[in-house]
Structures are given as structure tokens and as C-alpha cells.
């Protein structure tokens, strides 16, 4: 794959390897991952637990716990800046305003002791301050600063931005952010605490916060796994609509191929730390090429047991702490050949915009 500095490329990750190290063993979570993300596209990364999809997401936004994680090789180029080489305080300037993230369980990512309105307002303040060129002290949360009670200037418990002229503008902007995520009566919700909201509303608040900073890339790590199907439909639909409204790219991490097929423009399938297939959504579902993608698709029940029996993938995922020779899927693959156990297939573009890592196609 050519790594041309195309103006349409937002994020270019090349040869990224990430290792989790403990005293006993080291585990290769990402194995020379190469992927590009274009502007204003909806990319879904699909894989089963332990395939490295969350590690990839966390490494992009820079929230990997280092150690135990270690970036062994590779680069993450965001708008031609290699994020891997940046220091933490430089990296921080990207987090939120350039690359934002929402997580699986909104209740654990929202602060339980602040009203949701204040939390969204904080996001807006951060955006404004960064756009104004102001450096925010690393390590000091805006919230903590503004809620400080012992300061003589701010005797009230209210944050600075909730009083005076600024407060009015901010309130308007916060309301807009809530309205954008289609929350009914935002005037009420703005003064509620996260525990007073339902799961779907919490996830909308998270999305409102993430988008309030107008990021160019939104990473969503299993955003609907904790939600019911009807709520999931609402949230996914909202993400899809907002992507165009805010003009951002979305990287959706999911274990559900069906969800990916419903919303994504492009689907990337990962297995045991490798990208095994990467294609436009219609190509992926019309003609999945990698045996793992095919296997995964045939595992989804559609219809009743009388019509078609499921064909599960035999065996289980290899142990990533042991060195793998050859293709990691070889032990479970129905099309396994001699070469598969001795050599690792490379991810090659076998058709336009369709990359596969399998010896069945080329090499």
C-alpha cells in the first residue's frame, strides 16, 4: 500500500506494534498494523475480544497505559504529525479537540459528582482556550480549577464559566450541544447528574461532549454494547447523522459485524492482533475474502434453525504471548495450505480498496 501524503488522509498508521509486558510474559497485542483513515468516513473495526481493536483505539488517542504497554515499532501520523514521538503535554493538545473518544460504559466515563451541563461546558471551554492559543496546565483539570472553593475570587461553588456574561454564552452553547444529540428538553437535562439519566441519554451526553470540541476524528469503542437494541439503533443513527453535520471521521470499534454493516462505509476485520481484511462495506459483505471474515459472517444467526444450521469456527484464538509462525488463523482455517504454517501472509491490496492478508489471494 502506498503511503502517499494524500490531502484526503486524516490518519496514517504504519507498522504499529504494541506489546503488553509483564514480568512473566510479553503479549503482542498489535502486530505491524497498517491502516489509513480518510476525512469524513465511517470506519468500523470488527473483531472478537482480544483481537487488539481496543488497543489500536487507545494508541491513537494516546491513552494506553505505558507500561505495561509498549510501542515496539511504527508510527501514527495524524495530519503529518507523528503522534508516537510527541511528549505527553504536546499530545494533550490533540486529545479532545483533534481526536476524541467515547467509551463503552458512559456511567464510568462521566464524572458522577458534576452536572452533565457543566461537563459539556468544560469541553467547550477547553476548545475555546485551545483555539485562543492558551496553554492549559498539564495535569490540572479545568473543572478542578473552576470548582476550587478556597479562592477569594470565586467564593461560590459554581464554576467560573457558569457566572457572568461568559456563563450565558456557554449555557447557550451547551444547550446547542445537547440539542444536536437530539435530547428532549435540554433545559432540564443540563442540570441533571449522570445517574439521573438513562443509558441512552448518557451515551448521547458523551457524544455531545466529544463533538463539542469539534474533533476531526471520533473514536467510539463499543459505544452501544451496553445499550438495548432500540436505544442502540437511536445512538448509531445519531452518530451517522452527526458525522456529516460536524464533518468528522468516525472510527467505530465493535464486535458485531451486523452493526458495522448497518452504519460503516468501510469495514476492517482484525484477528489476534492482525488486520486480516479491509474493504468497503459493500465489497466486504458481497464478497468477503479472508476465511476468518467468511467464518465470522456464517456465525451470525439469520433465520431459524429449520432453514439453516450455523457453521461455527472451530477451535479458539491462539495465545498471543507465544510467538506465532505463519498465519495466526491457520489452526482454524478450512482452506489451510502448507505455506500458511511457515510464512506470515502480508496485507495486500488484491482488488481496488480491498486489502486481504491471505495466501489464497496472490503472493
Amino acid at each position: 500500500m502506498e503511503t502517499s501524503n494524500n490531502a484526503n488522509q486524516l490518519l496514517v498508521i504504519s507498522d504499529l506494534s504494541i506489546v503488553y509486558q509483564s514480568k512473566k510474559q510479553s503479549l503482542l497485542a498489535l502486530d505491524k498494523t497498517t491502516i489509513e483513515i480518510e476525512k469524513n468516513t465511517f470506519v468500523a473495526i470488527v473483531g472478537e475480544s482480544g483481537c487488539g481493536k481496543s488497543t489500536l483505539a487507545l494508541s491513537i488517542i494516546g491513552l494506553l497505559a505505558i507500561p505495561p504497554a509498549k510501542i515496539a515499532s511504527g508510527s501514527i501520523n495524524y495530519k503529518s504529525v507523528n503522534l508516537v514521538e510527541l511528549k505527553e503535554n504536546q499530545r494533550r493538545q490533540y486529545r479532545g479537540t483533534e481526536i476524541a473518544m467515547i467509551f463503552q460504559e458512559p456511567l464510568t466515563s462521566l464524572n458522577p459528582v458534576y452536572k452533565v451541563g457543566d461537563q459539556i461546558a468544560e469541553a467547550i471551554v477547553v476548545r475555546e482556550e485551545r483555539q485562543g492559543g492558551k496553554e492549559i496546565d498539564a495535569g490540572v483539570q479545568v473543572m478542578q480549577k473552576t470548582y476550587r472553593t478556597n479562592s477569594p475570587d470565586f467564593p461560590s461553588r459554581l464554576p467560573r464559566f457558569r457566572r457572568g456574561a461568559l456563563a450565558k454564552v456557554l449555557r447557550e452553547e451547551t444547550l446547542d450541544a445537547l440539542k444536536r444529540v437530539r435530547i428532549a428538553d435540554p433545559e432540564q437535562v443540563i442540570d441533571r447528574y449522570p445517574f439521573e439519566l438513562s443509558g441512552g441519554m448518557r451515551q448521547r451526553v458523551m457524544i455531545a461532549m466529544a463533538l463539542a470540541k469539534k474533533p476531526a476524528l471520533l473514536i467510539a469503542d463499543e459505544p452501544t454494547t451496553a445499550l438495548d437494541v432500540t436505544t442502540q439503533a437511536q445512538v448509531l443513527k445519531l452518530m451517522k447523522v452527526l458525522m456529516d453535520e460536524v464533518n468528522t471521521s468516525i472510527l467505530l470499534i465493535t464486535h458485531d459485524l451486523a452493526v458495522a454493516s448497518q452504519v460503516a462505509d468501510r469495514v476492517v476485520v482484525m484477528y489476534a492482533g492482525d488486520i486480516v481484511e479491509d474493504a468497503q462495506v459493500f465489497d466486504m459483505f458481497a464478497e468477503p475474502m479472508h476465511p476468518y471474515s467468511k467464518g465470522l459472517l456464517s456465525c451470525i444467526p439469520t433465520g431459524s434453525k429449520d432453514k439453516s444450521k450455523l457453521t461455527p469456527i472451530p477451535g479458539s484464538v491462539p495465545n498471543l504471548s507465544e510467538e506465532q509462525i505463519g498465519c495466526k488463523y491457520a489452526s482454524r482455517c478450512p482452506n489451510v495450505m502448507n505455506i500458511c504454517t511457515t510464512k506470515r501472509p502480508r496485507l495486500l491490496e488484491v482488488k481496488p480498496k480491498h486489502r486481504v492478508a491471505c495466501f489464497l489471494y496472490g503472493e
Binding site: E48, S261, S304, P312
Partner: protein
């Protein structure tokens, strides 16, 4: 549906107007008036489970499906109503739990919390057999090995503890434990929701094989419509403690009549990018509170077909087409 109109003999389990209310204590002052209030988790549910078939109970979180399972297994006995299991009313008089649990077993959602982390697989599976069928070591040992073999585990797995097993293997152990005393009815609470897609497919096929080999009846609690469609013969759709639709799975999936079932099925993602049903569904609002549910039909504040009568009168379950019961005033006009 009225259970009296049904043939009792063909059903292994019948619930009649089953209710499970949880009382709420308000505040710390025992004298604060206002009367006792309840969370109506399961409200007036009548379901028939035919022998040898699979019934799926489908619904979103908080609709009362797990409470229904716990009430049926007498793990939390119902507040009101009757349960007839294998021709015997188990809600009246003195209950012989040993006899019931020999024939009715349950598989819980999360094998991590339902398996004892300190017991070896062999001991975990032997436990219910010992309690229910006496203490003949050799006999129990052979039962344990048969059921472990039936779920695809080996001698070697029997000596492991749960933390040395994968998620799919743990769920297999939980299933082996349930089928070891050779029950007639197995109730499975979200048997695959904690599993990955490829493992889920293995477990679903295992369940089908076991049903064929041991002539089991299943009640499957799930929120996953494709799992329900794949496994079940009959479908019970629940919303806010009520059954809103009941009938043969194939006819409900093909032609849902209750507006809630319609949105539920439309919201389920299908692996087909040419049919993006998920982006075309409209559903407003949230699941109502179980303490203060809306008057009349509980779905009416979210329903696109709602009329005045919906907020005034609770719709009864009516037979709309053969075997398909719907609780909606306008069931003929939907869809």
C-alpha cells in the same frame, strides 16, 4: 392468551396470571403515608411452554424477563398467580423442591459468577446431582462424565478450575451442570450474551444438539432477536412487565403485529449493508418506569398508532392470527 383454552397435557409449563411485585420502602420514616408502592416487574403473565419445544422470551433490559425466569424456578417465588409444572401446581401447598429441580434446571447469564471459582469442573457438575439424586459416588461420576462429554468437554477439563477455562468452555460447564440431573425443562438466561460471535455459534448449535438427544424443553431468555429466531419455536415478547405478543416465532418475525414488536425487530441490526433498516427506524422516548407505568397500554407514549383509548384501557391479549396473540387495540391495523 387464556390458558384454559389450551390443552394442558401438551404443555410442560403453564403460568397463569403470574405476578411478581417488589415492595419499595420510601425514605426512613415508617409513618410517612402514601400507601405501599411496588415495582411491578412481572405483571399478569400467562405463558404456555409446550413439551419438547423452545420458547424464547424476548425483551429489553428491565422488561421483567429475568424476573419471570426466577419466579418460574421459584428462586424468587411469585407474588400472585399459578405455575403448573409437569401437571402439578407448584405455587400451592408444600413444595417438594428436590423433585422440581430434578426436572427443572437453570443456566445463568454469567458463568463467571454462577460457577464456584474454587471447585473443579467435576465437583461443580456433581454438586446438583449429589443434592438431588443421592450420594452414589460411582453413579454420579458417570453422570458427570456423560454430561461433560455431551457438551464437548474432556476428562482433562473436568480437573480444571473455572479460571483455567475460556468463556465458551465455562458456559459449556454451566450447561453440563444443568443437564446432569437429566431434567425435562432447562431455563437459560441469556446463555450467549457474554460470548464472542464464533463461540456463540458453537453454543447455539450445542444447545440444539442437546435438545435433540435428551428431548429437552427450553425456555430461553434473550434480548437478541436473531438468537431468539434461530433457537425458538415460540416467541414471547415482553414490555414493561407485560406480554405484548406471543406466538410461533416464524409468524411473529415475518409479520409482527404489536407496534413494540415491530420497532424491536426493525432495530435489530442485520448483517446486510444493502438493507439498512436500523437507520430507517423511528422510535421515540424511553422504557417507562416500572413503579409508575403509563395508564392503559404501557407502550402508548411511544406508539405511533396511539389513540385516546390506548391511554385509558389496558388491551387484552387477543388471537389475531392462528396461534398469534397480541395485546394491542389496533393490532389489525399495524404493520
Amino acid at each position: 392468551m387464556e390458558s384454559s383454552s389450551q390443552d394442558l397435557d401438551g404443555n410442560i409449563l403453564v403460568t397463569k396470571r403470574l405476578k411478581k411485585y417488589y415492595p419499595i420502602r420510601r425514605g426512613f420514616n415508617p409513618f410517612s403515608g402514601g400507601g405501599q408502592r411496588f415495582v411491578k416487574a412481572v405483571d399478569d403473565v400467562s405463558v404456555n411452554v409446550p413439551r419438547g419445544k423452545t420458547v424464547a422470551i424476548l425483551g429489553e433490559s428491565g422488561c421483567g424477563k429475568t424476573t419471570l425466569a426466577r419466579a418460574v424456578t421459584l428462586l424468587s417465588p411469585p407474588t400472585e398467580g399459578e405455575i403448573v409444572f409437569d401437571g402439578q401446581n407448584i405455587t400451592k401447598g408444600k413444595v417438594n423442591y428436590k423433585k422440581i429441580y430434578r426436572e427443572m434446571q437453570m443456566v445463568f447469564q454469567d458463568p463467571d459468577s454462577s460457577l464456584d471459582p474454587r471447585l473443579k469442573v467435576r465437583q461443580s457438575v456433581a454438586e446438583p446431582c449429589k443434592g438431588l439424586l443421592g450420594k452414589d459416588e460411582a453413579n454420579i461420576n458417570s453422570m458427570v462424565m456423560t454430561s461433560l462429554k455431551a457438551v464437548g468437554l474432556t476428562e482433562e477439563h473436568a480437573e480444571r478450575i473455572p479460571s483455567h477455562l475460556s468463556g465458551g468452555q465455562k458456559q459449556r460447564v454451566a450447561i453440563a451442570r444443568a443437564i446432569a440431573p437429566q431434567p425435562k425443562l432447562v431455563i437459560l438466561d441469556e446463555p450467549t450474551s457474554a460470548l464472542d460471535a464464533s463461540v456463540q455459534a458453537q453454543i447455539l448449535n450445542l444447545l440444539l444438539d442437546l435438545q435433540k438427544n435428551y428431548n429437552l424443553t427450553y425456555v430461553i431468555i434473550t434480548h437478541n432477536i436473531s438468537v431468539a429466531e434461530y433457537l425458538s419455536d415460540l416467541l414471547v415478547v415482553m414490555y414493561a412487565g407485560n406480554v405484548v405478543e406471543y406466538g410461533p416465532s416464524s409468524s411473529i418475525i415475518a409479520k409482527p403485529r404489536h407496534p413494540y414488536t415491530i420497532t424491536l425487530i426493525a432495530s435489530a441490526p442485520i448483517p446486510n449493508p444493502w438493507k439498512r433498516n436500523l437507520l430507517n427506524t423511528e422510535i421515540k422516548g424511553e422504557v417507562p418506569s416500572a413503579i409508575n407505568p403509563p395508564s392503559g397500554c404501557k407502550f402508548h407514549p411511544r406508539c405511533p398508532y396511539a389513540q385516546k383509548i390506548c391511554s385509558e384501557q389496558i388491551p387484552e391479549l387477543r388471537e389475531i392470527s392462528p396461534g398469534q396473540f397480541v395485546s394491542c387495540h389496533f393490532a389489525e391495523k399495524t404493520g
